[in-house]
Amino acid sequence: MNKAGQRASIPTHGGDPVDDRELVLAAQRGDRDAFKTLFERYHRRAYALALGVVRHPDDAMDVVQDAFIKAHRYLDKFEGNSSFYTWLYRIVMNLAIDHLRKHRRANPVELDETRLDSDGDEPLLPRILGGNPGRALVDKQIRGRIDQALDELSENHRAVLVMRELEGLSYEDMAQAMSCSKGTIMSRLFHARRNMQKRLIDLIDHPSPELVADLLGGQAGDPEDTPANDEAPRERVPAARSRR
């Protein structure tokens, strides 16, 4: 399991798995070790979320640190209606968005995000890398391109994409988190995904031999069987990382 994926049932306090709720209750009573355990469980996941939004590792670290301090400060207000992490990611998300607002730079042009025009907007592209995206992530070229593509998204598009793909939030939850309508969230997500497609498309159309080999799991690459070939089988190998 990857470090960021350490989600639950981490042995603590003498080896017994301790539930988040028990840890929160203990932390509310002033048990710092309990809060430290919560930190150890979720710091990387929170960092991945912050990094996805603010894009700079040091900024993301600041956001996570502030989020845990804030979480501790308001721990007595946490009533347990949602999971601790759900509560924490909202704090992380709010701080990450605040960070973007405070350090706003020239943003990429954001297309109409309140509605989709059936005539004016481009549809999604029916092309995929194929093979195993988990394996493709070993390729530095792809990682670099994903980084670049995320950087080039507008802040709002990126925030929505990260919330959806990293945390699997529903449109409604994202609308609440970003204080906007569900329609706006749908439009932002659609544009974000299509922009990611456009920025990664040349990798799909002209994959390097190394990438082809990676995608095919090290098998000899048959030119007729490359992912770019529209006739290639669409069956997908399960990704290396399962969705939470």
Binding site: A4, G30, A48, M61, Q65, L116, I128, L129, M196
Partner: protein
Amino acid sequence: MSKPSTAKADLELMEHADGETEDAGVAARLERDPDARAKVESIQEIGELVRGHLELSADAMHDARFAAMWRRIDDQLEAPATGLWSRVTRWFDRYRGHVITGAVSAGAVAALALILRPSMPDPGRYGAGNTVIDVRPVALRATPEIDSLDTPGGTGTVINLDDDEDGHTTVIWVTPADTVEGI
């Protein structure tokens, strides 16, 4: 051959891929249209790439950085509140919004009352320098009578108005001579 799709139609595909709708029309489209299926797969693939990339990036951050972060957090954590004052402070923190709203409302009402209260005359503050002029309101019980009107350098007009409802009103209209046209 499948009909060229639009962004709006693809939005429905996206909702379906995200589990936000189970529209039968979308399911039928996916059944018959390979392009639509490829688009849904593309959406899922982008998700896996973004998620995988961010999780790998998070994994790449050294444990030492997070250990240092915890030390900084630990330094800033507040001690658990146990005393009476701490309880009061926590209560205030929790209900800060209500308390402030109540205080502001009370202040606004008090300020309004001060502004709207009947003003008392402050005798002797209308003169220039040290001169004190005792000004008191006088209620006239009888209609004033004007014996003479002297307006040197101008013209004066006295208008008496009698009204059943408002009573008697006298208007004295004085106009300087140089502003009167034709004189």
